[in-house]
């Protein structure tokens, strides 16, 4: 036992050192820096979440080698997460979905002249969470990859079914609607040429989509365009904090109060981030609820309690990073952002899955090590740049959204150099707008879309192996267990008691 543990730690240390060697090259540091900076910049803009940010900035990674490109994209991702909290605290508009709860106490703190402290503790909490989850990724990667290599097609299929069920349980709103929207995503994934028979499916003779729909087009339409359409309807009162931001460094009392929330938030966020679907979004909500329950005086929450910033912000960052684990080890993206990462990897000719770690260790460990470096950079670059971000927030939305649309158009055009893609993106923008109008969430759809193709492939392979017998899915112990878990989740999702507590967690934001 101790031998195993000792070997495990030396392996871990060795791998991380190897990764540091890759990530610490001047080029990769520069890419990580640019990624963090640009990600934060766009993340600060209200209404542009990480999904739209990554799609918009995908083209800028085209000329870079795969390792550098992924380091930069990861930087853009957690940079955007960081930027979101700045907007929440200073403007009372969540920069993106995961920083909704930060608006509650963060903005109150800002109103009391403690904006600096709120931003500071958010940055410090995120940094601690980032460090811990980098270690978690590094520790879990090797064993999970070993497990993943044992997976047969039937097991993969069942795992994805389980993942989609998680997405249903963790989604907001109506359960049947969440299930339906995932199915619509799977349906969209079947568009294009069938890989086995070469027949065109659901293309209606339109040659432009015979290669299938592009995940970037879908994501940009539903998260870039549709988001702007929705923002234009609600004229948000921008409550920018005027006057001084105040001291950035929290005092001893603040640190004492935030210490517990930061570690608990990191734990909650890291676990929820691993789960497919809305996991990373749920983390901050869960952390806020937890802190409120643990607090001696819960009435302080909503009136500028520093715990209400420290916990959720740590959970947010931890979840954002552990979400990489299923992608890197199993090759299955757990949420919409990771689905886009798959798209980005494919553009660079990398097939996500357990073979990355064995075949491209420099890419794998380099990316993981870069996350730690990126977190450190965010801590260092963000605090001095807050003045700049505030100035950005003062740009009126009537100028902001045309600029975002132009960037979206250029970005989507550049992915395939195809004007048709731009038109299709606009079409999916309208589709995403319609979905929201009818109460469907777009994020599970994107997940269904990405998993749909993989699921069909694995289903077909499994059935060929079993000669057409569905028993194989139950017979194989791994697959059987996963399906059983999925079944339990469905039952849980429909049970009224669980539904209520799920709504309670989200209700904190209202």
């Amino acid at each position: 036992m101790f031998d195993y543990l000792a070997k495990f730690t030396t392996d871990l240390a060795g791998n991380l050192t190897f990764g540091m060697g890759v990530a610490l090259s001047v080029r990769n540091i520069a890419l990580c820096f640019i990624g963090c900076l640009v990600g934060t910049l766009i993340g600060v803009l209200p209404g542009v979440g990480p999904i739209a940010t990554i799609t918009m900035l995908l083209p800028i990674t085209f000329g870079i080698d795969p390792t550098g490109a992924l380091i930069m994209l990861a930087g853009i991702y957690y940079g955007a997460q960081y930027g979101g909290s700045t907007t929440s605290i200073l403007v009372n508009i969540p920069g993106e979905a995961t920083s909704v709860v930060t608006t509650l106490d963060g903005h109150q703190m800002a109103k009391q002249g403690r904006a600096g402290v709120a931003l500071g503790i958010a940055a410090i909490g995120s940094f601690i969470a980032g460090c811990v989850s980098t270690l978690v990724i590094a520790a879990l990667a090797a064993p999970l990859t070993a497990v993943a290599l044992q997976f047969g097609p039937a097991d993969y299929f069942s795992l994805m079914v389980l993942g989609l069920m998680f997405a249903v349980v963790l989604a907001r709103g109506s359960v049947p609607k969440a299930m339906a929207v995932i199915l619509v995503g799977i349906l969209l994934s079947t568009v294009g040429t069938d890989l086995e028979s070469g027949e065109e499916r659901l293309t209606f003779g339109w040659t432009e989509i015979s290669d299938g729909l592009d995940v970037a087009v879908l994501a940009m339409g539903m998260f870039g365009f549709a988001e702007i359409l929705r923002n234009l309807e609600t004229t948000q009162a921008r409550d920018i904090v005027h006057g001084a931001i105040g001291n950035l460094l929290p005092n001893r009392q603040d640190f004492k109060q935030s210490n517990g929330p930061i570690w608990r938030g990191t734990l909650v966020g890291a676990i929820l981030g691993l789960l497919p679907g809305n996991g990373a979004v749920l983390g901050p909500f869960a952390s806020y609820t937890l802190e409120k329950k643990l607090a001696k005086d819960p009435s302080r929450f909503g009136r500028g309690a520093i715990e209400g910033v420290a916990g959720p912000e740590s959970a947010n960052n931890a979840g954002a990073q552990t979400a990489f684990i299923p992608l890197l080890t199993l090759g299955i993206p757990p949420n919409a952002v990771m689905a886009l990462m798959v798209g980005a990897m494919q553009i660079h000719g990398i097939v996500p899955g357990p073979q990355i770690m064995t075949k491209q260790p420099h890419l794998f460990w380099g990316m993981i090590a870069s996350m730690w470096i990126g977190n450190l950079m965010l801590l260092i670059i963000n605090l001095p740049l807050i003045g700049l971000w505030v100035r950005f927030l003062k740009v009126p939305y009537r100028l902001m959204f045309p600029a975002i649309i132009l960037l979206c158009c250029i970005g989507i055009y550049s992915v395939n150099n195809s004007p048709i893609d731009v038109i299709m993106t606009a079409g999916f923008g309208l589709f995403g707008y319609a979905l929201v109008k009818y109460g469907f969430e777009p994020a599970p759809l994107l997940l269904g879309f990405v998993l749909g193709r993989l699921m069909e492939e694995k289903l077909r392979q499994a059935l060929v192996i079993s000669r057409g017998s569905f028993i194989t899915f139950i017979e194989r112990p791994l697959s059987g267990c996963l399906l059983l878990l999925a079944l339990i989740l469905v039952i849980i999702a429909v049970l009224p008691a669980i539904r209520q507590s799920r709504e309670e967690v989200f209700a904190e934001a209202d």
Partner: protein, 210 residues
């Protein structure tokens, strides 16, 4: 989800227009899915054909659609959200403008579904220098507070910044000015400045290298 306001109770047959419309939307999507894959082979279980997945998924989507509709008839629910027209028209229009102008295109009016070909319009490739500002200006009108002069200036500046960033720094193959609309004098001046900066960089670099 269930708002019990008096006006919600007053609505007759359909108790939740919100879910009812959602169900209809799902039925529509399922119909499209079934129509698009109706001639594909289902295959056998040991060799699944290309048509099975789209068909099964479409039927499941339809089932959820029916479920939502039935639910909408039985359980009180929210009313439909209003659709705005201005936003979608201008935003989607601006993407269309960008797509049609960036590399040029040929538009045909008619010529399908039995309608004779009425007219064709050729748009020459105009590049980012025209598509960019037009895209920005058109989509800006999605907001009724937009001021013309402000947005025109902003559009031109944004386009120049984007052109510099994507074309010059990132070397993306996006056409910037294929029609040669920018006067030669400006192009030459730009090339001159670029050359001078390149020389200056080279000079500084040499100082350090040697």
């Amino acid at each position: 989800m269930t708002s019990q306001s008096p006006e919600a109770r007053r609505r007759g047959f359909i108790k939740s227009p919100f879910d009812f419309a959602g169900g209809l939307f799902l039925l529509f999507l399922a119909a499209v899915g079934l129509a698009g894959g109706f001639n594909l082979p289902t295959g056998t279980l040991s060799g699944i054909g290309s048509g099975l997945m789209p068909r099964v998924v479409s039927i499941l989507v339809a089932a959820f659609g029916v479920f939502l509709i039935i639910q909408a008839l039985l359980v009180e629910g929210d009313r439909l959200e209003r659709w705005h027209v201005r936003g979608p028209v201008f935003i989607l229009g601006s993407a269309l403008v960008f797509a049609l102008l960036i590399r040029g295109s040929t538009l045909s009016f008619g010529g399908f579904a039995g309608i004779p070909l009425l007219a064709t319009v050729h748009i020459p490739p105009l590049g980012l220098i025209v598509a960019g500002p037009l895209c920005v200006v058109v989509c800006a009108y999605a907001d009724k507070d937009t001021r013309l002069l402000e947005i025109v200036v902003f559009a031109v500046v944004m386009t120049l910044i984007c052109g510099f960033m994507f074309k010059e720094m990132l070397n993306l193959p996006i056409p910037f000015d294929p029609a040669g609309l920018i006067p030669d004098a400006i192009n030459n001046a730009y090339a001159g400045v670029k050359w001078a900066i390149g020389q200056a960089f080279g000079f500084v670099k040499n100082l350090f290298v040697s």
